[in-house]
């Protein structure tokens, strides 16, 4: 009995065909494994290795190099808080403290008692004009305030319907958007809800010659 489902293993076996050399499939394969299990166990890495005809030590070597592969259990929701220079100049330490308090953990990587949350301090996420910012699961959140953190945590603790109702009853602001829209373009819709819509469009009065 394998750790990874047959379906995922089949998907992994299909991957090498997409690349000029089969080794390139290792990271996409680890992605699939991590998606299924939440984090990468030694068994899962071995199974990925077997499916790709690679050495298990090699696969583990790749997994340990990159910070987006998790080798320990993590929360269902992950806060990746940027604490690099720009964000720290704009208050990321307050954000980290509020996250720790709101989810009830003492340090990065620790999973909250209910298993719902964990957080990490990460390096620059490339959205510096919106600092302080973070990535929560697969979504960027901008112009963070400690209160916005509490709101994000509460939404994820409450049953979905309640969270949705609560957010409908108030006007979305810069730091508090409505919950994600369930659409194929959800990711983008989500990203846009954390900021107000573009205030103005460029006046198209002059053309570049």
């Amino acid at each position: 009995m394998s750790t990874l489902s047959e379906q995922v293993l089949d998907e992994i076996r299909e991957l090498p065909g997409k690349y000029p050399q089969h080794r390139s499939a290792v990271m996409p394969a680890l992605d699939l494994a991590q998606e299924e299990l939440g984090y990468l166990t030694p068994e899962a890495m071995s199974e990925v290795a077997t499916a790709l005809d690679l050495d298990p030590g090699y696969v583990e070597g790749v997994a340990t190099f990159y910070t987006l592969f998790h080798l320990q259990p993590i929360g269902k929701h992950r806060f990746y808080i940027c604490t690099n220079l720009t964000c720290s100049l704009r208050g990321s330490s307050e954000i980290v403290e509020r996250v720790k308090g709101a989810i009830g953990v003492h340090e990065a990587g620790e999973v909250s008692k209910d298993g719902l949350f964990s957080y990490e301090e990460v390096e620059c996420l490339g959205a510096c004009e919106f600092a302080p910012m973070m990535r929560l699961d697969h979504e960027y959140h901008y112009d963070l305030t400690p209160d916005a953190i509490t709101a994000r945590v509460n939404e994820r603790r409450a049953p979905l319907s309640r969270a949705a109702k609560a957010s409908r009853s108030r006007t979305p602001s810069v730091s508090e958007g409505p919950p994600p829209l369930p659409s194929p373009r959800a990711g983008r819709a989500k990203a846009s809800t954390s900021s107000p819509p573009p205030k103005k469009r460029a006046p198209r009065t002059k053309k570049v010659e």
Binding site: S24, L85, C124, G126, H138, Y140, S195, P197
Partner: protein, 439 residues
């Protein structure tokens, strides 16, 4: 698309960001009908020979916008278009230089602009396939590119006969997994090949032996996104902007202690006073600018007294800094330079790939020394260690630029703010508040 903070075609010199902010610009139909999209590709495929395209880029004087500033046309010329076997274009979308968000700005606003640039480059250098290596955290831009590629395939721009020309083109995406070092081109190639991202020794250069040991053109997102304008308007029109040796414009993401952080398209040769004080609104009320990083955290710092330094690469080199990634980080007088440097050294130590000794060991030495200084356990000894470590990291002692960058942070903050180091290490005091508390 998230709120636009920065340029969106308000000024005559907004070449790349000309149509940003146009509703649904990310959709192919809008990109074509409203923004004149894909006319450059059409022109390149139907009216130009590959060598003419490369020459046009050479004429433009465009220089790489990723960090090193190498002449783009020259780089294209390194690829032997007639060599048998596959060749690749690899796009560096692993934007992770602290303070840099301009590639995200482009991909979120106008993904087709990047795709068009990629296709033109591929045709010029004789590649049929391109790979965009995009950092794993960029879920939004990744999704934008996926959708744009689907549209371009449906329209036939990607496929066996783009614009009716029998020159097959395809673009694939590859996601990074959180490693700053992947911004270094050979580390990126290692990663694309499914390995730990450790830089390669050069030669061979990627133009000869790059991705999967094939000739490979590596360009940054912004560099390629500038190409359609150059093809549409000609290289000669591009050199009318900017300075003689650094022609054109570049996107500068201005962040930190400024009132209007944003991604601004700036004509090269403008001063940092214009960029930081005018475009980005300067520091908040009651504060004064103390220091700025002119091109990402790796670019040696400049004190506020040097705000009149121009943004072109030559002007920056003359003051011992560089244009780097175009990420401008401004810090005001409420923050401590030593703490900021300590925070950055922690970053470089964490992101060192561990392959070469000076960087692997030097980063840790620096972090431990900063820790002692900030814990008021410093003395002349610690200052001496920092200077020696900074020297050991620079001047080609490391395999790639990461070590140099770490050394430059120490070196340049020392050069301009020795008094703050001495306050901390010798007098155990700090003249400013406790910001960058995570250092």
């Amino acid at each position: 698309m998230s709120e636009l903070r920065g340029s969106f075609g308000q000024a005559r010199h907004h070449l790349v960001t000309r149509w940003f902010g146009t509703r649904d610009l990310h959709r192919l139909e809008v990109y074509e009908s409203k923004a004149g999209g894909y006319t450059a590709l059409r022109k390149a495929l139907l009216e130009m020979k590959p060598a003419d395209i490369t020459n046009e880029v050479k004429t433009s004087g465009l220089r790489g916008r990723g960090g090193a500033g190498f002449a783009t046309g020259t780089k294209w010329g390194f690829i032997n278009r007639d060599a048998p076997g596959p060749k690749y274009v690899v796009v560096n979308a692993d934007e992770s230089e602290p303070g840099t968000s301009k590639d995200r700005y482009i991909m979120e606003n106008s993904p087709h602009l990047l795709l068009e640039g990629i296709m033109i480059a591929a045709y010029a250098v004789g590649a049929n396939q391109a790979w965009v290596y995009i950092r794993g955290e960029y879920d939004g831009p990744h999704r934008m590119l996926v959708e744009a590629i689907v549209e371009a395939r449906a329209k036939g721009y990607l496929g066996p006969k783009p614009m009716g020309v029998a020159y097959p083109l395809d673009i694939q995406l590859y996601r990074g997994h959180g490693a700053y070092i992947c911004g270094e081109e050979t580390a990126l190639l290692e990663s694309l090949e499914g390995k730990r991202a450790q830089p390669r020794s050069r030669p061979p250069f990627p133009a000869v032996k790059g991705a999967w040991a094939r000739p490979t053109l590596l360009n940054n997102v912004e560099t390629l996104s500038t190409v359609p304008w150059i093809i549409n308007n000609g290289g000669a029109a591009y050199v009318k902007f900017g300075t003689e040796k650094s022609p054109g414009t570049r996107l500068m993401s201005v962040s930190g202690n400024v009132r209007k952080p944003g991604v601004y398209e700036v004509e090269l040769g403008q001063t940092f006073r214009h960029v930081i004080m005018e475009l980005a609104g300067g520091p908040p009320d009651g504060r004064e600018l103390k220091v700025f990083w002119p091109g990402g955290s790796s670019a040696p710092v400049l004190p506020a007294s040097m705000l009149d330094t121009r943004t072109d690469m030559e002007a920056l080199a003359a003051v011992r800094s560089m244009g780097g990634s175009g990420g401008v980080i401004a810090m005001d007088d409420s923050h401590c330079v030593v703490k900021a440097a300590a925070r950055l050294l922690r970053f470089y130590a964490h992101e060192s790939c561990g392959k070469c000794t000076p960087c692997r060991v030097g980063g840790d030495w620096a972090v431990r020394t900063y820790d002692r200084i900030l814990a008021n356990e410093g003395s002349q000894v610690e200052l001496g260690i920092l200077e020696r470590v900074a020297d050991g990291l620079q001047n080609g002692r490391c395999l790639c630029g990461l070590g140099d960058s770490a050394g430059w942070v120490i070196d340049s903050t020392f050069r301009h703010f020795r008094n703050e180091y001495e306050d901390h290490a010798l007098r155990h005091t700090c003249n400013v508040g406790a910001v960058a508390a995570h250092a």
